[in-house]
Symmetry: C2
Subunit: 559 residues, 2 copies
């Protein structure tokens, strides 16, 4: 992990031997993830991570640990998140770090931490690894929000430890990682009590915290260790995770990097800084899939779908964090479409296998990351492309797609025209955050359109047919292709980046909302607005004035 200056490229790759802020211990079916933030281990300069406060670097390690528990430690059935420090669980995001961060850095940071917390909930729901928050001291702000992402919250009842969301009264901002949504929608704290709680900087502890549902139980210090162990064992006993499973190693990703290119084994990106464009290409598998689930285990991290999910995940995080001015991402896929479908079929046929399940889950979460990425996504589908099954999701995630009708008559007249293929994996296993597949979201309110597409599952669809079915946006021929695609890209780069972020955040989530989409939509959008306001981030704003002894000065006009 990069731990140099703010201007340096942030890397999202780490492993437990490099952790500076977390201790991972595994005891049979129970893992304990103890937060022990190194005060001087911040990713940036100018702040100290006191009281288990965190920055992006701390969260990158947490994300890594959650992923590795799924893949490397499949026997784990419950995960206790606690603190290795006394009297404090976690003080939340470091305030000085926030106050000195740029607006994009704040927003990006909140997005990633949100995704990690959603991943924790996903592990509880889908991986049979139930997260328990064992708050052995005060959990405030983001610290309490981390607990809210867990299935069960235990708070030590020692007359001083509390849970709190002090962001509003102390900092003039909102809790940034789903707190307001989870308090009411997940924990069912009554809205007026939630209102009181979120304006009371000193928090709520003991039996009152339990009575208000802010925590599940308040446990006396004398019974603490025993109660945590009991609860961990109880949740572990409920898991359907196989007890004899052997993990696979998430070996380090191999990546090559130059100023204008990033290359992994199957995923690569060309960075065109002048045009503000990143051209992302995902390559299909080089060989046929193994015959059964056992073969997946043998290939481990080298298994094509897992490798692609990991590489794409890393690339999305990298570009999102480090390349703010590359506002348009072109999505390409190359290879043999039938092979991709064969891999997909193996994954679906192996649905009972824990590893196959984890791989589909990883792909699902990586695609969700794309859905909430504030970049314009344009899929480009040409001869030789490979938008089939799981890779078709890239085109379905895109804001727009262009598919060549026919071939390039001058340069490559003999090649077969591009096709796309809908597979079984597009019809369920890879839902968006709104709970619907990308296909279903695309055809919201149009069941006939959806049925027509589903009927074509497995059929190679050329451009005219794909356009007719509504699977691609435009299908220009050779004559119009270059101009249409170029204009689309140039136009996109000419628009207001902010307005594009807002447009995309709305259009990508047609239909129902879930707790997850509420967090990224309603809550984050409000937070972004508040972050830009002088009352928070101006020189006299609360976020900047915090800790100076001077009170913030507010423009009192309500908006």
């Amino acid at each position: 992990m990069t731990t140099t200056s703010d201007a340096a490229r942030v890397s999202f790759q780490t492993d437990p031997s490099s952790y500076r802020h977390w201790r991972l211990a595994i005891d049979g079916p129970v893992a304990t993830l103890a937060m022990d933030v190194a005060e001087h281990g911040g990713l940036g300069e100018g702040y100290e991570l006191k009281l288990n406060s965190y920055d992006l670097g701390v969260d990158i390690e947490l994300y890594d640990a959650v992923q590795r528990l799924r893949f490397e430690h499949p026997q784990v059935r419950s995960v206790v998140i606690t603190s290795a420090k006394d009297k404090i669980f976690c003080a939340g995001a470091n305030i000085r770090m926030l106050a000195t961060s740029s607006h994009p850095a704040k927003v990006n940071f909140c997005k990633f931490t949100n995704e990690t917390r959603n991943g924790i909930e996903d592990a509880t729901t889908h991986s049979g690894q139930t997260y328990i928050a064992a708050l052995n001291g005060t959990a405030s702000g983001g610290g309490y929000e981390l607990a809210l992402a867990c299935e069960h919250i235990m708070l030590i009842d020692d007359r001083s430890s509390v849970v709190s969301l002090p962001e509003l009264p102390l900092l003039g901002v909102l809790p940034g990682t789903g707190g307001l949504t989870r308090v009411t929608d997940k924990r069912h704290v009554r809205r007026d009590l939630a209102d009181y709680f979120s304006t009371k900087a000193e928090g709520v502890g003991g039996r009152k915290a339990a009575a208000w549902r802010l925590v599940d139980e308040a446990v006396p210090r004398t019974r603490w260790n025993e109660a945590v162990a009991e609860r961990a064992a109880e949740f572990a006993a409920r898991s359907r995770r196989p007890s004899d499973a052997v993990g696979i190693a998430l070996t380090p990703l191999e990546v090559t990097r130059s100023d204008d290119a990033i290359g992994y084994r199957y995923v690569s990106a060309r960075l065109d800084r002048e045009a503000g464009v990143a051209e992302i290409t995902v390559r299909g598998p080089d060989a046929d899939p193994p015959g059964d689930a056992e073969g997946i285990h043998k290939q481990g991290a080298g298994f094509w779908p897992l490798a692609v999910a990991r590489e794409l995940d890393d690339l999305v995080l990298d570009l999102r964090t480090n390349e703010l001015e590359l506002g348009t991402w072109l999505l390409r896929a190359e290879g043999d479409p039938q092979r991709v479908l064969a891999y997909d079929r193996l994954l679906i046929a192996s649905a009972g296998d824990w590893l196959a399940g984890e791989i589909v889950g990883y792909l699902k979460r990586t695609l969700k990351r794309l859905d909430v990425t504030s970049r314009s996504l344009i899929a480009v589908i040409e001869p030789g492309s490979c938008f089939a099954g799981s890779l078709l999701e890239l085109a379905l995630a895109a804001d727009r797609s262009y598919m060549l009708t026919g071939v390039f008559e001058d340069s490559d007249p003999a090649v077969a025209p591009a096709v796309i293929l809908v597979g079984e994996i597009n019809l369920g296993p890879l839902p968006m955050g709104n709970g619907l597949t990308r296909l279903r979201t695309r055809f919201i309110g149009d069941p006939d359109g959806l049925a027509a597409v589903e009927k074509q599952a497995g059929e190679p669809l050329e451009a005219t047919e794909a356009e007719r079915l509504g699977l691609v946006t435009f299908a220009p021929d050779d004559i119009d292709w270059a101009d249409e695609v170029r204009i689309a890209i140039e136009e996109r780069s000419s628009f207001s980046p902010d307005a594009l972020s807002g447009l995309e955040a709305n259009y990508r989530f047609a239909g129902p909302e879930t707790m997850e989409t509420k967090i990224f939509g309603r809550l984050s959008a409000w937070q972004n607005w508040i972050f830009t306001r002088s009352n928070a981030s101006g020189p006299d704003g609360a976020l900047v004035r915090y800790g100076t002894g001077q009170r913030a000065h507010f423009d009192r006009k309500r908006v």
Copy 2:
């Protein structure tokens, strides 16, 4: 209507004889509302309302017309919204007005226009008055969004008239009145086509607009008048509105005003500018209700529930628009709780009567306005108060409520302690924008809590019992009352107004989202953020540069 300078108090009261921008014509079951904006009739200075572009003043008249059609013209069964100008339906919100407006003014303007468009949809769904957009010329931006609020959209097919959402490409902002949500979630335009459409300033017309579902039909000029008349008659024929109904007059509200008080017949407000508090009191009925629906018709605008709905509606709009620094609203209700329940019962018993239905609907919409008001709402429940049935909704809409346990021993020891009463009207007829009653939203995920409350319907509940049932937040006694309430108000005034708006906008809408809540939550929050960004509103921003011949200068970092 006030039509003087921007600094002047905006009034929301008008009537058709004063309209400057709309012509209302009624022909049997069909009303035609023709937009004919007076270029020099703007509410503020410094802009001309060309091409049927609008400002708040234009929308105040539209709101008035929609309300009067419901109450004064009950025989109307379909409403055609069209333009009295040639070649142009409506160019949307006036850009110069937006560019020169303050941030709060822009946000307030969008909120009110959104509410009016929601009211149009509500009239179609609940009042049997179906709105038809007859676009006899181009509808761009807010003009197209007005059409989107209608049930059926007809576009003249004359090779030049189009629908468009040019906000993003031309102004660097989003369509501000629900366009992005309605295009996908209501009209089911495919998200990638919607994306293309919303970045194409020149819009889409003719058959393509119909094929993409942007409009329901493209009609040749030669058939235009005939087709509009046909469609109006068809929708009118489907209405269950009684054909022999006689309207009631929405007589002018009588209001007295001083610098620190606003008074209507049943609703009043004291404005404490130093504290930043408005103290709103709603008085219960002076007399028992009439015996049946006929009595409601006889009393007309004087019927207590209708008078309260109108007065409260006007007060909310007034304070929201004109008193930005009164950030906390105390809500009080005075009178005889049993009498309120008697009025509520009459309304429910008269459910088949169109006027009774309209009155409940008006109350519903006024309470919804409160839900999306960016002010902290605190209900104060003391002896002599009247939070029963429909008035209990005020306390349920509040962010927090305080109810005195017992009485004020020193000042009024002999009075009866305060009670609150749940009535049948709290259990269904007054849903929030999320489709749930305020009680159901309050007890989201807590069916036992909700059932316990429902069981107490009709029972006077004193403070201890109300607190135990979760109907009020706190129930301090005489000794603690003054301090607790004072501290709550003072604290609220000390917090960041922006963070409070964000907090309240999240906590008030626990549970499911609807198109309506998506518009106020996800979409408006993004728009507010974009409005504050330099790329839109800065000196080089697109909103400010529009029309100057100079291109906007964007900070290209994606956030």
